[in-house]
């Protein structure tokens, strides 16, 4: 009997996980936030999201065609990046700006460095930093939830807080829509996404918890209400979707914890001692650069080896 069998090297079976599945999980986890953004900011939020996602996919597609590379948009990573980018932009952004954001994010941050898995900076946040430097005026106009886009007057006021020093007040703040980027608007939606991602074992909790806890502790040290401080701005959104990005964060659990703690530290230093009111973006980008060193420090000790420090 002469049959042709496949000859290979073990293992011959693989888990049913795949890059595409991971990306689809993230997209599902982003759904509650997307819906909350549309709910609070209207259909324009959806429009911005469609523009970033569409242009991100288109840029990756064109890049691959021009460079005669294997088409990679099928892994849905560009879709995830596009959605992430929209969620770190204010809803009032002129619609041509996100296109530049996508261009920068896909071509310069991702493809110039070798595509998926090779970039050392978080694509969406780097694009946000780029837009913030290029069009600062547009990037800092925050519209109050439910106010509609036309009322440009209703901008840049802090969300009216109740008695924030009581726990009840903090809980009320938790349930309120927040002023800021689209992804930051409704914290319960972000928490749902976090629970989903952890339950599906897409991310581990370490970086998220490290980030939130260290931000909490530092806010307490700096003397403000830590609960309110942690829930304002982009900390919660970033702690779930940005510091858990595979490519730009450490691969070990201890490393992820350290990464989260470091991000919390830098965020709070920028908020209290720096010139920016919001430090999440730069904190994460700075920590991204430190990842190789964190990996070295948090190198696991092999089974049966002594610890060398």
């Amino acid at each position: 009997m002469e049959e042709n069998f496949i000859v290979s090297s073990p293992p011959y079976i693989r888990s049913n996980n795949s890059i595409r599945k991971v990306m689809i999980h993230v997209i599902i986890a982003l759904f509650p936030i997307t819906i909350s953004a549309i709910w609070f900011y209207g259909i324009r939020a959806l429009l911005v999201m469609l523009i970033t996602t569409g242009s991100a996919v288109a840029f990756e597609y064109i890049w691959n065609i021009l460079l005669r590379k294997e088409q990679s948009i099928g892994d849905f990573s560009a879709v995830v990046s596009g959605m992430m980018l929209a969620l770190v932009l204010p809803v009032s952004i002129p619609l041509w700006i996100p296109v530049f954001g996508s261009l920068f994010m896909i071509i310069i941050v991702k493809m110039f460095f070798g595509g998926l898995g090779q970039n050392f900076l978080n694509p969406a946040l780097t694009a946000r930093a780029f837009l913030l430097a290029s069009w600062p005026a547009y990037m800092t106009i925050y519209v109050k939830p439910f106010s509609g886009i036309s009322s440009v007057d209703a901008i840049s006021t802090a969300t009216p807080l109740g008695d924030v020093n009581s726990l009840g007040g903090a809980f009320e703040f938790f349930l309120q829509p927040h002023l800021g980027c689209m992804g930051e608007v409704y914290i319960p939606a972000i928490i749902i996404g976090f629970i989903y991602l952890v339950a599906c074992r897409v991310i581990s909790w370490h970086a998220t918890v490290g980030y939130v806890l260290s931000a909490y502790v530092l806010a307490a040290i700096f003397g403000s209400n830590p609960l309110i401080e942690v829930m304002s701005g982009g900390i919660i959104f970033a702690s779930v979707f940005m510091v858990t990005d595979y490519t730009t964060t450490p691969t070990t659990k201890s490393g992820r914890l350290l990464f989260g703690i470091g991000t919390g530290l830098i965020t709070m230093l920028i908020r209290y001692k720096g010139g920016y009111p919001e430090g999440v973006t730069y904190a994460i980008l700075l920590m991204n650069i430190l990842v190789p060193y964190i990996e070295k420090v948090c190198k696991p000790v092999p089974f049966g080896k002594k610890v060398h420090r």
Partner: protein, 441 residues
């Protein structure tokens, strides 16, 4: 109490339900036995029969004077037709003895049962095990008598039987534990006697609770206990099994005997029992025949030297053409390109997997997701190992402890990008070992 189990590992679907309820059946001896002359790690054997000789069941046909070797016995009676070559599962040409089976199964006079078990000394047991040609039947094929005679400065106090059987599909050890528990316990007693060890442990994964129960009922001495371990791949890895059962950690580059432990496979242990009591050499073993493509999956007693072709025919052939034919488990076994390969002493399974059971996706880029790091039972960093394997940076690979890799494939199983991690590591590891050997010389 120490932490039972180990960090890392994966949970593949085990497919043991295919065969776990099938009692062991005998597969008839083939008309022609192709017996590789050397079936162990160590010095090669020389044939001691000539073409035309009549050999009987259990007669020694090839042996070596060197200590680290194990003789090979004829599993059938008949005439030696040829002393030539065959291919081994790795696809390499090896010398082999071809015996034409006359079907009479005449027993050799060399087989002599032991008349008084109580008078046996440890030297007697080691000698019997060596003469019976017993090797590690879990896959390593290291001569067992060498394991049973450690250097005098190493005192062994604990003997472990590896009943974890963590590879998917495999159920042969499980069936042996269910059907011959008294032989298993007896074999373990003999190992303990040979090593003067005080303690014996039979380790079973907790997905085989009925085997655990039946072994427990058959233990008649307080020196032996049976332990349930968490079900996780690679629980059957020697170092991890020792850690899980005794809490001792085998240091990097050391052997189990350095922590006073000897680990044996289930089938090996039973074979030792048979050899000591009945004088029966290792001429057959239990093989799991499984995978979607087999008509009659099951657990079979197969004589060593039976061509795979014969097994396929005896179990009723394939339902559909398999994509892959594997000797051993799907995580660490070897694929065959031909069915002309013989069952060896370390062949635990023959699997015929269909297209839907194996993964043929091409590899994608590394996402740095860390799943391989979480999965590695040795706490290595497979993603960095692979990156350095690709650029052949031997120095960096050694810093990353490549030689500690046990090649279990858990990283590769877990990788969402289907990267060939352990495959790359395996190649570079061999190269590094070769370089180190050259430097030493």
């Amino acid at each position: 109490m120490f932490f039972k189990g180990f960090k890392g590992g994966v949970h593949p679907s085990d497919f043991k339900h295919y065969t776990k309820d099938f009692p062991i059946k005998e597969i008839s001896a083939p008309d022609v036995i192709v017996l590789p002359i050397s079936q162990h790690i160590g010095a090669p054997n020389e044939p001691i029969v000539c073409v035309g000789d009549y050999v009987k069941v259990g007669q020694c046909v090839a042996t070596s004077a060197v200590f680290v070797s194990a003789p090979v016995h004829s599993p059938v009676s008949g005439v030696v037709k040829e002393i030539g070559t065959t291919i081994n599962p790795q696809g390499i040409k090896v010398p082999a003895i071809v015996i034409e089976n006359d079907g009479l199964d005449e027993l050799s006079e060399q087989i002599t049962p032991c008349n008084n078990l109580d008078l046996l000394t440890s030297e007697d047991i080691v000698r019997i095990v060596r003469n019976a040609g017993i090797v590690g039947m879990g896959g390593a094929s290291f001569p067992t008598h060498v394991k049973l005679s450690p250097p005098p400065d190493k005192q062994i106090d604990c003997c472990i039987v590896n009943g974890a059987e963590c590879e998917p599909y495999l159920t042969s050890d499980y069936r042996v534990m269910l059907e011959r528990p008294e032989r298993l316990v007896f074999g373990l007693k003999m190992i303990m006697k040979a090593l003067n060890a005080a303690q014996g442990i039979i380790a079973v994964e907790n997905n085989k609770k009925d085997a655990y129960k039946i072994i427990k009922e058959n233990i008649d001495t307080p020196d032996i206990k049976v332990m349930l371990l968490p079900t996780k791949y690679p629980q059957g890895s020697e170092k991890h099994l020792i850690k899980a059962t005794t809490g001792r950690k085998v240091k990097s580059g050391k052997l189990p005997m350095d922590v006073g432990v000897v680990v044996s496979n289930v089938d090996t242990c039973v074979s030792i029992g048979d050899a000591v009591e009945f004088g029966r050499p290792l001429i057959s073993r239990i093989v799991t025949v499984s995978g979607n493509c087999f008509n009659n999956k099951g657990n079979y007693r197969v004589r060593i030297g039976t061509p795979i072709e014969h097994i396929i025919k005896e179990v009723g052939g394939f339902t559909s053409k398999p994509s892959m034919l594997i000797l051993g488990g799907p995580m660490m076994g070897t694929t065959l390109y031909s069915t002309d390969v013989s069952v060896m002493k370390n062949t635990g399974a023959v699997l015929a997997l269909g297209k839907d059971e194996i993964n043929l996706h091409s590899a994608g880029p590394c996402l740095r997701c860390g799943k391989c790091v979480d999965a590695c039972p040795m706490q290595l960093q497979p993603l960095y190992l692979m990156a350095n394997c690709e650029i052949k940076d031997y120095e960096k690979l050694q810093q990353l402890n490549i030689l500690d890799c046990i090649e279990c494939g858990a990283c590769t199983y877990a990788c969402p990008s289907k990267r060939h991690i352990v495959q790359s590591i395996r190649i570079r590891k061999q190269e590094i070992v070769a370089i180190q050997r050259k430097v030493k010389q």
